[in-house]
Symmetry: C2
């Protein structure tokens, strides 16, 4: 969840000044429309890492919006009245009426996360707390609320830099407390628990938006745009419903999910794939030594008696001609044919379309001891189906959570889930397309569809970046492989696979 | 959840024969319409107590429906192929395509319940499993499925009777195994865990229906009617959407919730309140002795130092003139005025209507050491708002789960939640209305609205019975008080309150 927020996203001052003027005007318009319309409340949660600009964002939102209709509340340690009542009591008090916006600084997420990291509460307790959080947010959504859940993130390095910078300046030194450094010492634990919490509570109707907090301009625009997109989508849906029914229609989950999907689209995650250098190369002789060695290791691992308690699910995604087939063959060469199956995924059949989209992948889940290698996969839902509009917006935006849940079930059962994105440049793809057209035995590999997909290159990059960002989990991480050099790619794939299997055994 | 299913509901053979002919014809019609329409799948879960007629119901559904388009699957212990894959794998295999009906005998609920009772898995593990179940069902519902979750129940006595009867008959003796008796020995644990599981997974879009399994005629009709209602509601919603949009509209949660609400309405729970005898009386002298004693006890408990860790929420519901005010005064007479507040609940204000309906009750949650006494309460959502149509069907049917969650939060915080339904007969109400009209100082108590409500007496009884059935939990049980005799009612209220507080301290 945090990958795209560690890219060092920046917006320079000139661009910021221009964009912010327009954003503020639009936000005010939307706020007044909401106030007029009074059909739903908006709840903005401001959470995240210390020093990532949470307080500054709350101040900015109050500056940008008409503050008479914004209710900001900061939740620190509970006061006496709060301690004497159930933990959710103070949050209920802070709920805004329809037509208004509440900005909550700290929220019902703080206590479960801090409890798990600092007081070492059990996994079971955390699970019960998150289950309660989901019920509460579902109640809000069912009641029509728009939830904007913002998580401001800093990498460990960026957080340290920020604390040091604040301490150096006499004017800001007071802002750094011993507590801040104590928290920093627990950065890794906080990161691990937060990622788990965000994933478990990122639902279709109330997803988390993780914002890179390192640049003030970037984070301000990201937060403002997300709020604006959610407001506009829901105001639009409300108007649409009113037009159709002759009155303001009941707010269904669908409306929330449309607002949520619009929010997600405002985040620029494409940097994950755009920032690749594509410089490394591997010579043929070196490749031949390395691939033989990696294949031997894989063969040995696949025959290990410990594999009987495990299985492997390997997922290959990437643009057309990225080299998925070639990489897969290097795996199958190394493993006994009785121990693997390759599952090529094309458009779903009629039988498959009649069921939830994950159904056809469940059919191919390997039994213990087996490898299942997917040449394209369930990620089609958030790639081709999203880009081509085969899946409705609420369906694909819900799919990230569904996929994470699916992969967790695999992982909990001892299945090693290894996911590769084979990245190539647009030029390299063109080179390969032409090569295929020119080579008799490769012509079958290139179709009119490949050329059509190529025209939507940028859309696919955005979709793939979102995918990597929202489904890269501790138990099923993505490995992005620079695949302009096929040799390098194949070796990296095998080495990654071997490492992940070894860790599991 | 099990109260209404222990009333010994019966349908005699003549009535059954008549009803079942009509039901079968209607079910077939609906099935063919579904088959034609192909816009959603139907999944019927058949779960419950051993001997409550699960197998028989599966057979009947196959007999009633066109079996070519029904897929029945029984899930026993997993076979080898299943054991070697993640637990949910076999259930995914059994999902029906759109247009078809799957009847699943045993389901994803069996393992968590048996695990908790027999293998004593932890609460945390159960919470994690139920969280996964909710995600899975949410996925199915989001994908458009209609889920009909049937739980066949038998009281402990009825289960024993059934096992003994089967054993006595030579022809059925083979059906009773040692395992059945072992399970019976764990009846109480199974009941407790099942109730928890059903409550935690009874969501707005996929609620549980608990069916009394003691009478074959009754349970068959109840199951068939629930399925029919769900089919009809969804087919109707699909047609409506098609008419509006010129094409089959996307299925939103709203459609599922309408189908779910229709299902709920087919259950006859009214027996809970209709079966009261109203025979007991308490003489004035006895009343005076008892009430003084009970008040003294309450006063002592309220001043106990242990109360500092607790609080009391007492809820009074009942028909107009049931004696709520009088009972409440007997409590407040006994408790120091600094320690209680009485919260009368009338129609919500504008400020309250602009927020989720539970908001105004959260405001009155007492701090530790305090009593909050609600004269009418959050149950208005499923009583007056349901009967008068102030809340949409999906909103009030969702409210049972929301209320259970709310009361659990109170209870987890150490608050004693005591809920009274003061039951009077219709004749008694008339007597009291007339008395009020005739007495100068009571005239203010009777309004035109009271007379209007009285005309909907039967609807209120149905709503109140559903409420008691679906929100009577281990941590916040309902106490139904026969209140035709005011003296008796007041003493019972105080004694119940004292007992619950004493248990908590």
């Amino acid at each position: 969840m945090f990958k795209s927020a560690e890219l060092g996203n920046r917006v320079d001052d000139a661009k910021y000044a221009k964009e912010v003027a327009k954003l503020r005007a639009d936000l005010l318009d939307a706020q007044y429309e909401l106030l007029e319309d009074k059909s739903f409340p908006v709840i903005v949660l401001v959470n995240g890492v210390e020093g990532a600009g949470k307080g500054e964002t709350v101040n900015l939102l109050n500056e940008w919006l008409d503050p008479r209709h914004v209710r900001s509340r900061a939740f620190g340690d509970p006061d006496e009245a709060e301690r004497l009542r159930p933990p959710m009591w103070r949050f209920w008090q802070a709920l805004p009426p329809k037509g208004k916006i509440a900005v909550l600084f700290g929220s019902w997420y703080t206590a479960p996360i801090v409890g798990r990291v600092v007081d070492k509460t059990s996994d079971g307790k955390l699970a019960a707390e998150l289950s309660r959080v989901r019920s509460f947010e579902q109640l809000l959504v069912d009641d029509g609320a728009v939830l904007v859940k913002l998580w401001f993130h800093l990498s460990k390095k960026a957080q340290k830099k920020r604390l040091v910078a604040l301490e150096k300046d006499k004017l800001t030194r007071w802002r750094v407390t011993a507590q801040d450094w104590r928290s920093f010492a627990r950065y890794d634990a906080f990161r691990r628990v937060s990622e788990h919490v965000l994933r478990e509570t990122s639902t279709g109707a109330a997803p988390w938006l993780v914002i890179d907090g390192s640049d003030p301009n970037y984070r301000a625009l990201a937060a403002g745009r997300a709020l604006l997109a959610a407001l506009r989508a829901r105001l639009g849906a409300a108007k649409e419903a009113a037009r159709k029914n002759g009155k303001a229609g009941r707010k269904k989950n669908g409306a929330s999910e449309d607002a949520a999907a619009s929010m997600l689209r405002t985040l620029d995650t494409a940097g994950i794939l755009k920032s690749l250098p594509f410089t490394e190369r591997l010579s043929k002789p070196k490749y031949e030594t390395k691939i033989v060695k990696a294949q031997a290791t894989l063969g040995r691992l696949s025959r290990s008696s410990k594999m009987k308690k495990h299985a492997v699910v390997a997922v290959f995604e990437g643009m057309d001609a990225a080299g998925k087939g070639g990489a897969i063959r290097r795996i199958t060469q190394a493993v006994d044919a009785r121990h693997f199956s390759v599952v090529p995924i094309a458009a779903p059949t009629e039988e498959e379309r009649a069921r939830p989209y994950l159904w056809r992948f469940w059919r191919h889940v390997p039994r213990r001891g087996q490898f299942a290698i997917f040449d394209r996969s369930w990620y089609g839902r958030v790639l081709v189906e999203r880009v081509e509009g085969f899946a409705a917006e609420d369906a694909w935006s819900r799919a990230y959570a569904e996929i994470n849940e699916f992969e967790q079930e695999l992982s909990d059962h001892g299945i090693v889930v290894v996911k590769f994105w084979l990245a190539i440049t647009k030029d390299e793809q063109m080179k390969r397309f032409k090569e295929r057209e020119a080579t008799r035995h490769k012509q079958f590999k290139i179709t009119a569809e490949d050329w059509r997909n190529r025209r939507k290159w940028d859309d696919y990059i955005v979709a793939a970046s979102d995918m990597i960002d929202r489904t890269g989990t501790a138990y099923a991480p993505w490995t992005v492989i620079e695949a302009n050099d096929k040799h390098l790619a194949r070796v990296r794939v095998l080495e990654t696979l071997n490492r992940r299997i070894r860790e599991a055994l």
